[in-house]
């Protein structure tokens, strides 16, 4: 992987992934909303790696800007070998009920805008006839649960979209990876009490690194979530609706 593009570069998982792969890259483009954080991250990645590092300040939730972003990106790095889409926010489910506008804004951030961005990226990869599009979904996308179904629904939309895109991209030799992390200890989840099911961002980044290299389709990380979610998906609805999950 020579040219790496990270969208949502200041997220905990993105940073852990960069720590792992930065010194294998030649060109790195980091995109995020906060100029301040991006500058701090840019210095770090430039120190770690001999790659040329470019930072672009963009609000990725704004799909109207995606075209402009893509032209900036291709102008900066030429071909994209790997694009990691790793931005989003954990939706406050309780707030959604009383504030539908907030729910829609969150759905756009975690769902619709990612679909738009994935389309722009896959079009570019088709043009190149190569490359990887890796998108962070969530185990929450596997089944709507009462504790976070607004977040889960957005991730679910992204994952259905990616499943189709992956199949569509077969003929273009473009690799599409859906990443489904479980509980990850990052700033996004800093207010949660951590337990045995929690993984570090570094562990998740290591799994992502392997999945991208091996051109996997769907990655559950850590691995045991595949089985936890399998059980959750198998529970009949008449029982499931009564479970406090």
């Amino acid at each position: 992987m020579k040219n790496l593009l990270i969208l949502g570069a200041t997220s905990g998982i993105s940073q852990a992934y960069l720590n792992r792969v930065a010194d294998r890259c030649e060109k790195i483009v980091l995109v995020a909303r906060s100029a301040e954080k991006l500058q701090q991250l840019g210095e770090h990645v430039s120190t770690l790696s001999k790659a040329s590092v470019t930072t672009l300040v963009f609000d990725l939730a704004d799909a109207k800007e995606h075209e402009k972003l893509m032209s900036k990106v291709t102008e900066t790095m030429g071909a994209i070998d790997c694009a990691l889409v790793s931005y989003g926010e954990l939706t406050d489910q309780a707030r959604c009920a009383s504030d539908p506008a907030y729910a829609m804004e969150q759905f756009n951030l975690n769902g619709t805008s990612t679909v738009s961005l994935s389309l722009h990226l896959s079009n570019q990869l088709v043009k190149q006839g190569s490359g990887t599009l890796a998108v962070i979904g969530s185990v929450a996308g596997d089944r709507g649960r009462r504790s976070n179904y607004c977040y889960g629904a957005a991730k679910s939309a992204v994952e259905s979209f990616l499943a189709g895109l992956r199949s569509d991209m077969q003929k273009h030799r473009v690799h599409v990876l859906t990443i489904k992390p479980g509980f990850v200890d990052t700033p996004m989840t800093s207010s949660f009490k951590k337990g045995a099911l929690w993984a570090s961002a570094d562990k998740v980044a290591a799994d992502i690194d392997i999945a991208i290299t091996k051109k996997k389709s769907v990655l559950y990380t850590p691995w045991f979530w595949r089985y936890i979610m399998l059980i959750i998906k198998c529970i009949p609805e008449f029982i499931f609706k009564k479970l406090p999950l």
């Binding site: 905990g12 301040e36 701090q40 210095e43 770090h44 800093s190 951590k194 045995a196 929690w198």
Partner: protein, 434 residues
């Protein structure tokens, strides 16, 4: 069940404090320091006792500040955020022919933690402590001041913050002078000895020829048998970062249960260890294996079970080291102690720190499984011995020393206290600042 499943991320490495503290995190250099009036910023919490604990106050985790700011490959100056670990530094700089000028026995400590505890390593006799290599840092005070500290700028805060136990404010970033190396492998020699006098003789002779010296000692053996390790950077082998150790981990279930450390297991381990290192052996090994042997077993502190363990580390002046023989006798008689007991001589090079633990003499470090009152009484007896000998106890390892002992151990304490940030405190500080 929830006790078994949830990890105690809250406590220090010894797991004896079990604090109640309000947790928050710092993830970016531009994040605002929480306004709490009793706060403490901590890194990876590898201190054993309560210097990284703030019972009843706010604990601010700065491990998210783990980015480098710059690294000059020509001059070996590295600048990084507070929460960067020594492992991270080593991985970055070794392939370019640089290494940490001083490193303790684990690479999981953060750079700011190493500054705040003025840590030392196997090369203390020739290099001094970590603080000797700190060129500059940013100190953020609770009143909003951001001080650049170095030997020439805010030199008073510089001296108070190195070894200052994190109480003078929050160390935002650190600039460190690295040490050039030609090769990344270590040429090591192990020599077994059977008495404490032999250890002293070996130390004296090895310190002239070897940059790194340390010794493992059988704490249950009254005569003082042990194994002396001495090493230099090797003459060949290239600059290989080869810093990936196997990452096995002691499962959480062990940490929630009974200690695996008892008289029988310690005796068996010590006998096997002596046998494995009998005579004199020479070999080369990686930096990771030589400096951080325990880092390949993650969460090794869990072998001490639910109740955790105490560590005791003291330094006593060279002329009074007979007190250590007495200490071994007490430990053996009390049937305490563990696998890991370390003995090393310290040299005369001092850092700018007002509160540095490091001083010329012999330092001894021993783990004790927490057996409640019995263990605390032994620690008290050892503390008294150290005070009689005019020595000092290491705050980074300590959970029990008295205010009087702390004051006697650190003659510049009154000067230091003026620089303590009024909104910062720790369980350690509440205990010793009376």
């Amino acid at each position: 069940m929830s006790g078994l499943l949830s990890c105690n991320m809250n406590d220090s490495w010894g797991n004896v404090c079990q604090p109640r503290q309000v947790q928050s995190t710092l993830n970016w250099r531009t994040d605002v320091l929480p306004a709490a009036d009793k706060k403490l910023v901590v890194g990876n919490r590898r201190s054993y006792g309560d210097v990284c604990i703030n019972d009843g106050g706010a604990i601010i985790d700065a491990t998210g500040l783990n980015r480098f700011i710059s690294f000059d490959k020509a001059t070996g100056l590295v600048r990084c955020e507070a929460g960067v670990t020594l492992w991270q530094v080593a991985k970055l700089v070794v392939p370019h022919g640089w290494f940490l000028p001083v490193t303790p026995g684990t690479g999981f400590v953060t750079v700011a933690g190493a500054v705040a505890n003025d840590v030392h390593g196997k090369n203390h006799h020739v290099a001094g402590s970590f603080g000797c290599f700190v060129k500059k840092f940013q100190l953020r005070r609770s009143n909003g001041d951001e001080l650049l500290c170095s030997e020439s700028e805010n030199a008073d805060f510089f001296a108070a913050t190195i070894g200052g136990l994190g109480l003078t404010g929050f160390i935002g970033w650190v600039e460190l002078a690295l040490k050039p190396i030609e090769q990344s492998k270590m040429a090591v020699e192990s020599v077994s000895y059977s008495t404490y006098e032999e250890f002293l003789a070996l130390s004296g002779e090895s310190e002239k020829t070897h940059e790194y010296c340390v010794s493992w000692i059988d704490c249950l053996d009254k005569s003082g048998r042990g194994v002396f390790f001495r090493g230099n950077h090797a003459d060949e082998g290239g600059l290989d970062a080869d810093l990936d150790t196997s990452k096995r981990s002691v499962p959480a279930v062990v940490g929630a249960g009974f200690p695996l450390v008892n008289r029988l297991s310690v005796n068996l381990f010590n006998a096997a260890y002596i046998r494995a290192h009998s005579g004199n052996r020479q070999y080369t090994e990686t930096i990771a294996k030589f400096f951080y042997p325990l880092d390949s077993l993650l969460n090794w502190n869990r072998i001490y079970g639910r109740k955790g363990f105490y560590q005791f580390q003291c330094v006593v002046p060279q002329e009074n080291t007979e007190i250590l023989t007495e200490a071994f006798a007490r430990i053996s008689a009390a049937n305490q102690g563990s696998f890991l007991s370390v003995l090393k001589t310290m040299g005369t090079i001092t850092s700018p720190a007002l509160l540095s633990f490091c001083r010329p003499g012999v330092t001894l470090a021993i783990d004790f499984p927490n057996r409640g009152n019995k263990t605390r009484q032994l620690l008290l007896a050892l503390e008294e011995l150290v005070m009689q000998a005019g020595g000092a106890i290491y705050p980074a390892k300590d959970a029990t020393m008295s205010a009087a002992t702390f004051e006697k151990s650190f003659p510049k304490l009154a000067e230091y206290t003026q620089f303590v940030d009024p909104a910062f405190t720790s369980s350690f500080w509440q205990r010793v600042n009376t």
